[in-house]
């Protein structure tokens, strides 16, 4: 794989076994991907095909049994736990299906959590930036509201703002619109899409929603732990990935 300044995240030949002995599953069987700046990638496929497993490995939350991952042209597979945590904090943003906000914290405090760990901004700067990010997702009036008193759609938008908190280069989203109604889903997705294009980030999202998948720059179809087909929106030409 060539070194490319335009590639934010890539992986090559990822294999992953899950479970012990009898229940051992070959969840990923050699997955390769490249995410360029400013592009949105969708991963689709039947339940259990390994989408989340791939996302966790790309997000440095899990390790691959073989293959390697590079972020910003730096191989990260060999890094120790603390260094991986640092990469997650600096370069990655996560959005999960169930929002995963800290319930007792306000919307603004949730967005500030990654910034606190990064420890670059002062308290005032963090307040300002988090207010700005929440304003951008349409929650400018609900900064101080405890996140458990927000609606599902609002919570998901807080999660989007939080994923952007440390200005990451890659955003990984696992069914980010999974339990939202279609109007809210579209709104959340369009928001993400706009930010990714404007700020030249890379977005990989797992989705079951064909409407959202169609709107992405690339669609990767997975089956049994492999990417069986990748096609771009512009061409709609199937590209057989190496099976």
């Amino acid at each position: 794989m060539l070194m490319n300044a335009e590639v934010s995240l890539s992986c090559e030949g990822i294999e992953r076994f899950l479970g012990e002995d009898d229940s051992r599953v070959h969840a990923l069987r050699g997955v390769s991907l490249q995410l360029e700046r400013g592009t949105v990638h969708a991963v689709v496929g039947p339940s259990g095909c390994g989408k989340s497993t791939l996302l966790y490995i790309l997000g440095l939350l899990d390790h691959a049994d073989s293959g390697w991952v590079t972020i910003e042209n730096e191989a990260v597979s060999h890094l120790v736990d603390d260094a991986l945590a640092r990469k997650r904090n600096e370069l990655l943003g996560f959005i999960f299906q169930f929002h995963f906000l800290l319930e007792d914290f306000t919307a603004q405090e949730n967005v500030m959590i990654p910034m606190r760990r990064l420890a670059v901004l002062s308290e005032e700067q963090m307040l300002e930036r988090s207010a700005h990010l929440l304003d951008a997702v349409g929650l400018g009036s609900k900064l101080k509201r405890p996140s458990r008193h927000l609606s599902g759609g609002e919570q998901q938008r807080v999660a989007v703002a939080r994923a952007l908190a440390n200005n990451p280069s890659v955003i990984l989203a696992d069914e980010p619109t999974g339990n939202l109604d279609s109007a809210n889903s579209r709104r959340a997705f369009e928001l993400l899409q706009r930010i990714v294009q404007e700020e030249r980030k890379a977005l990989l999202l797992v989705t079951h929603n064909p409407e959202i998948a169609e709107a992405c720059d690339w669609i990767h179809e997975m089956q049994d732990g492999r990417i069986v087909e990748s096609h771009s929106r512009g061409h709609r030409i199937s590209v057989r990935a190496g099976a």
Partner: protein, 413 residues
């Protein structure tokens, strides 16, 4: 403020009930520790003060024979427990010389020669065997607390009257006499001599107060007819803790048997130490229980925050940040618990000191005795911090080891 501390504070604020629960355990343990130590040490200290006040920190008594025979005893002070103690002869012959020299020791605050003997006493129809102390009033009052021990009568009546005595408070009760009454002392020669009771004294030490009678040393000499002017020298030391060392030095120097108060009261002191240790063990069990409480609360806290832990990890918090969150929670419990516990301990101690209790025997007290010693507060705090740290270490480690992927997978399936 570090991010883990910030998050720990926020977590605690929303688990106030369990926080207060574990806090109360620490508060209770610390307070009880302080209170029991204050009491047990209070009684011990009172006893020590009483015995020092009436018998001094150091007694110099019978003279070693070695000085004259020079053959049986090696010149160096070799103490072999298998051999019987050195022979010694009752009494001190050159008391004034010894006192003059020993007053030059920095350790010695005061000393007083005493001519001591056992005589029979009679007052009305009551008889008693008494421990007669022939004293020089001036030096004995400097050396002991006798002046403070007077419960009735007047010290001046004793000073100004060669035929006056001061008698122990319990002895006075037993013989039913009060100051102004007469008491007869039977000399070894067989004749009774009449004395006026000038005052009664209470040292607090039961065995002293029930047998002791003070008279002037000249009177004691004629009454007891001892072949020596003094049977012992009582010392008051500036630092009573140095008594054993001073005793060894004096034995070498004066060739007289010297006994420190620690030696003299060994049995009683051991009793107090036993009580104190057993109280400390009881309290340690309370603190252990508090530790279990905190262990439970923090373990529950970790379990209830599994989702939060996973999300913090995914946002780049390190494993040690996660364990720091729970260690901080423990630290806050320990800190708040120690502070409140110390205050509560002081309050308990004060309250206990007001509880009436009649002690007559080993020592004399009308209410619970306590000491105020900052060491107790320090030790209680150290104990609490150690217990809480041990109790929070395991849950904190467990929280740090939770794999975020396991949680995320579980929730999105």
């Amino acid at each position: 403020m570090t991010p883990p501390l910030y998050i720990a504070l926020r977590f605690l604020r929303h688990r106030r009930r369990s926080f207060i629960l574990s806090l109360s355990g620490v508060v209770f343990g610390v307070a009880i520790f302080i209170c029991t130590q204050a009491q047990t040490q209070g009684f011990a200290q009172n006893f020590i003060d009483s015995t020092l006040g009436s018998n001094g920190a150091l007694l110099l008594r019978s003279r070693f024979q070695s000085a004259t025979t020079g053959l049986l005893v090696p010149p160096k002070n070799v103490r072999n427990p298998n051999q019987p103690r050195r022979h010694s002869i009752d009494g001190i012959t050159n008391a004034s010389e010894i006192m003059r020299i020993s007053r030059q020791f920095a350790d010695v605050a005061a000393c007083s020669a005493v001519l001591r003997g056992t005589v029979s006493a009679r007052a009305g129809f009551d008889n008693a065997t008494v421990d007669l102390f022939g004293i020089d009033a001036v030096s004995h009052l400097q050396t002991t607390n006798l002046a403070q021990q007077i419960t009735s009568g007047d010290l001046d009546d004793f000073r100004n009257n060669p035929n006056a005595v001061i008698i122990g408070s319990r002895l006075a009760e037993a013989m039913q006499v009060v100051p102004g009454d007469a008491v007869q002392l039977l000399s070894p020669g067989g004749e009774y001599r009449r004395f006026t009771i000038a005052a009664t004294a209470r040292s607090g030490v039961g065995v002293v107060d029930s047998v002791r009678v003070y008279c002037h040393v000249r009177v004691a000499q004629t009454l007891l007819r001892k072949p020596f002017p003094a049977s012992m020298i009582v010392y008051k030391l500036r630092d009573p803790e140095r008594a054993p060392a001073v005793a060894r030095a004096f034995e070498d120097l004066f060739q007289h048997d010297a006994q420190s108060w620690q030696d003299r009261e060994e049995a009683n002191l051991q009793l107090f130490v036993t009580v104190r240790v057993s109280a400390a063990i009881t309290v340690s069990l309370i603190i252990l229980l508090a530790g279990f409480g905190i262990f439970n609360v923090l373990t529950m806290s970790v379990l209830s925050k599994i989702k939060e832990i996973a999300i913090l990890r995914s946002m780049g918090y390190r494993a040690r940040d996660i364990s720091a969150i729970f260690l901080w929670q423990g630290a806050m419990i320990a800190a708040a618990g120690s502070v409140i516990g110390c205050l509560a301990g002081a309050a308990f101690t004060w309250g206990v000191s007001k509880i009436p209790i009649q002690v007559r025997g080993l020592l004399y007290a009308n209410h619970f005795l306590v000491t105020w010693d900052w060491h107790h507060y320090l030790w209680a705090t150290v104990l609490a911090i150690v217990a809480v740290f041990i109790a929070s270490y395991v849950p904190a480690r467990r929280a740090a080891q939770l794999a975020p992927v396991a949680t995320l997978r579980g929730s999105s399936a």
